[in-house]
Structures are given as structure tokens and as C-alpha cells.
Symmetry: C2
Subunit: 290 residues, 2 copies
């Protein structure tokens, strides 16, 4: 362990699951000095302080003036204003990063809000969401073996990208890089669409006249399949709207396969049905969470 931590002063905007766990993980690794917390809700900030996730509550301007790294872990919709508030005060050496689930819209907001200082913004996305939220959900081990994707801007310095990467690696995460456009397409498929499908499924069950009996009868398959339908509706409204085109394209493609399965069932075509299920099962069984 170094004597000097990687990040002498960290500022976390939004002290919930993502931001609180980033702070807790860096503290556990001995890679952060002081942690400043920024947020709209006083009670949440006090709770984060009581839990030891942050040391001080500050304003966006104060955070910008003193932090070495600033993590935006608020809902994406709140980031534009925070970036504009911090821009005039941001130190030249400071690095801003984020934990947003979509990247192209966050980058647009950063260019708007930070202007020339957008070069100090290294966009990131820890794939470690949960249906839990708030400071009490934060855990020092949340990012262990989890994936973090950075989608750097052309104007980012290599040093800044490397420091953000090191911070996430200190949290135990596996970091990779891709373009923001590619990120949004891939995440539409592996994260946003499964959420849409799980929400739609649970919504239909909720609306059934015998919903009570259904829920009473549901078992382990239901539990895992529908878990993500318990996620924050506000957050997922924003993500689905921010990445609308890609998600709608994926939905259409998946509905086409749903229809192939339905057609095979309707025509009693056991062979085609087996082929469709087998392709899915083989790729799922081969998946190792890599």
C-alpha cells in the first residue's frame, strides 16, 4: 500500500449505491484521503456521513475547487446542471468521471456543462447496478470482479484515463474500454432490454385478475427472471428514454424470436422449437460471466 493514496480528495455527487460503494471500496483499499459528499437530500447525506461513506458535505462549487477526482453518481438527468455548477470552479488537475448507465447522453451533457473543460471528463459505467439503492445499500465489495467500462473522449489525456482505470481497479473491478456509441448499443442488448422485458412481464402479472395466486405460486425461476423489475422506475425511465432507438431495435429483434417460438408451438413443430431453445441454452450455459 502506498503512503500517498491514489486520490487525496474524492468528491462523490450522489451518495447512494454506486457513489457510496466507490468511496467505501477506495477507503478499504487505502486509496483515498478525504471524501466529500454532494447531494440534494440532506438526510441522505447525513446518513452517508454516519455510515462513514463521506467525511464532509459540500456544495458542487466547493467540491470542484478542492477535489482531485469527482464522481457523478446521480441520476443521469441531474448531471447537466451539476456539471454547469462545478465548471467555473474546477481545478486544472481535477478529473471528473461518472457512473451513468448510458454514455452518449452523459457526454453531451458534459460537453454542454463543462465547455472547454470537457477534456477533464472521463466517462465510465460500472456494471454493478442492483435493485437496492441509497447509502445503506453501499458496500466496499460491490465492484469486486464486476465490469467497468470507460468510454474516453478523444481529448482525454492518457494519464487521466489511466487514473480513473486505477481507481476502479483498486475497487476490485475489471476495466475495459469502448466507444460511447458501441457502449450504448451493447448495453441496450445486455442490460436495458432485459430490464424492459422484466418490467413488462411483471406489469402483466400485476394486472392479472388472479395476480395474488400467481405470486403465491411463483418459485425460483420467477425470482431470478423478475429480480430486475424491482429496480428504480425513475432511473429506468431515464435510461430507456436516453437510449431509446437502440433499445427499441433490440426489442423488435427479440419479439421476432418470441414469434418464432410461438409459431413453432402453434404448428406443433417440435423440431424447430427444440432448435430454437437449444441455441439459447447452449450459449447461456457456455457464458461464464466473463
Amino acid at each position: 500500500m502506498n503512503n500517498k493514496p491514489l486520490i487525496p480528495v474524492l468528491a462523490v455527487f450522489g451518495v447512494g449505491l454506486i457513489g457510496g460503494s466507490f468511496s467505501a471500496a477506495l477507503r478499504r483499499a487505502g486509496q483515498v484521503g478525504k471524501v466529500l459528499g454532494v447531494g440534494r437530500n440532506r438526510a441522505t447525506l447525513e446518513q452517508a456521513r454516519a455510515l462513514g461513506l463521506i467525511d464532509e458535505v459540500v456544495t458542487p462549487a466547493e467540491a470542484a475547487a478542492s477535489a482531485d477526482m469527482l464522481l457523478l453518481s446521480t441520476p443521469v438527468g441531474a448531471m447537466r446542471k451539476l456539471l454547469a455548477d462545478m465548471a467555473p470552479h474546477l481545478r486544472d488537475e481535477a478529473i471528473v468521471t461518472d457512473g451513468g448507465s448510458t454514455k452518449q447522453d452523459v457526454i453531451a451533457a458534459a460537453r454542454d456543462g463543462l465547455g472547454e473543460r470537457a477534456s477533464q471528463f472521463v466517462p465510465g459505467h460500472p456494471i454493478a447496478g442492483s435493485e437496492q439503492s441509497g447509502p445503506q445499500a453501499a458496500r466496499a465489495d460491490l465492484y469486486e470482479q464486476r465490469k467497468v467500462i470507460l468510454t474516453p473522449l478523444p481529448e482525454n489525456s492518457e494519464d487521466d484515463i489511466a487514473l480513473v482505470r486505477s481507481a476502479w481497479e483498486a475497487c476490485g473491478a475489471c476495466v475495459s474500454q469502448m466507444s460511447a456509441a458501441q457502449h450504448d448499443l451493447v448495453l441496450a442488448s445486455v442490460s436495458h432490454l432485459p430490464h424492459l422485458l422484466a418490467f413488462a412481464y411483471m406489469g402483466q402479472v400485476a394486472g392479472a385478475p388472479d395476480a395474488e395466486l400467481r405470486l403465491r405460486t411463483a418459485g425460483g425461476g420467477f425470482r431470478d427472471f423478475s429480480r430486475i423489475a424491482g429496480s428504480s422506475p425513475e432511473m429506468w425511465r431515464d435510461i430507456l428514454l436516453a437510449n431509446r432507438d437502440a433499445v427499441l431495435d433490440e426489442l423488435q429483434a427479440v419479439q421476432a424470436v418470441q414469434q418464432q417460438i410461438a409459431d413453432a408451438m402453434r404448428t406443433d413443430d417440435a423440431e424447430s422449437l427444440l432448435a430454437l431453445l437449444t441455441r439459447a441454452a447452449e450459449i447461456r450455459k457456455a457464458w461464464d460471466g466473463r
Copy 2:
């Protein structure tokens, strides 16, 4: 613990996850004397014997002639022939039950195969499937706190129903009863359709040109949502065909909600989108696995 076990001689047809775990759980509870194993695959039967799940390998006729309880835990498609094979040899006191995921088709097979002895058949369904299978997947604790649904026939005796219930309770399960028709409708919603949706989703991901990158990027939400797509394709082909009408009705209803979400996204109707997601999230968060 009684000196006399609940089931002096148990016969298990199909010594995989469901049958092997039933035997293991009853053994652990001290509620079974001898366990006979029936199956098509010699190697699987030997493996089950080596694992201590069964004591002897016998034919269907031998099992029928000596067992007090017979559990059919083969694929549903294989049950009709097994029932016909055992029928002429079945003891008057023997109770036959099963672990099939659909009930109306199994009952039809039992009436065909057992004829007048159908009164000795108490249909059941342990909701404890898994993407695992085979004797090595069997566990004495598989049924702990899991749900088992019995769908008795009008001609079943109360004593026989009670004994099957006691056996599952000895395995740690929570047992309830409903009609076979109701079972098949409810399971179409809470089990069969989630499997169809997960298979369709994984099939679409598998077919994407960038499937590799998608799988490499996928995280925890994907993991849980798609887990059941790794289930046995043969078993699920049979279930989807056996319960076709109910599953297709549910699929249509869920696709309608998918379309409502897509329409709200397409028209940028944040309010309707939030309402749709909120209804789903609230009912999922309130679900406690009851």
C-alpha cells in the same frame, strides 16, 4: 423421529435432480426405508447408486410390485409408457405421484396408462426446477422452503393425498393444492412464459453479429434474467407444447405490455412510461417469495 419410516419402500422413476433430491431429502429425514431406481440409462442409474440416492435398480414391473410410493420424475413424455408398464403389477396399497411441470397432460396419461388404478395416482409438482440436471445435481435440501402443488383427482382418497403431502413436507416443502386446470394456467404465467421469454432473449443475443462482445459486457442483471435460458431444451420443448394454449395467451398479454412501454418510449411519454415501470417495480418489491 418415528421408528417406522413414512415410506418403507420408495421407487423413483428417473433419478435426476427431482427424483434424486426427493430420495435424498426423505433419507435425511429418516422417512424412507429402501429406495428403488428405475430408468433408461444404465450409467445414470449406477451413478445414482454410487451417490447413495437409490439402493437397487429395478424394472417398472418390479417397482410396481414392491413399492409403497412411486414417484415419476422422468420427462412428462416418458410417463405414459411407464404408467402402462407398471399398471398390471401395482399393489393395491401403492400410491403413485409425479413431479411433472404440467398437470392436465400427465393426468390424461395416468388415466390412459393406469385405467381403473388412476385413483392411486396423486399428481404433484415441486416448483424447484433448476438449470442443473442429473443425479449429481440432486441435493437433500433442494425442497427446503420450496413450493409443491398437488392437483388431486376426484377419485383420490384423502389418506393417499395426505401421505403424498406428508412426504413432501418431510422434504421441507410448503405444500398447497389446486385443480390441474388452474395449476396449468398459473404456471403458464409464473414459470412457462418466463422460460419462453428468457429462451427468446438468449436466442436473439446468440444470433447477433457482435454476440461475443455482448456476452463479455453482460453483468449481474443479465445473469439472473437469463439464468433459466440454460434449462434443458428437451424438457422445455415438452412443457411449452403440453401447455401451449395457456402459454400463448400469456405471451400475447405480455407482448401487449411490451408494446405499451415501447409506445411510451417512442412518443417520449415519460409519465406513462414511469407509471408502467412503477406498477411492475412495486409488485416485484412487495413479493416475498410467499
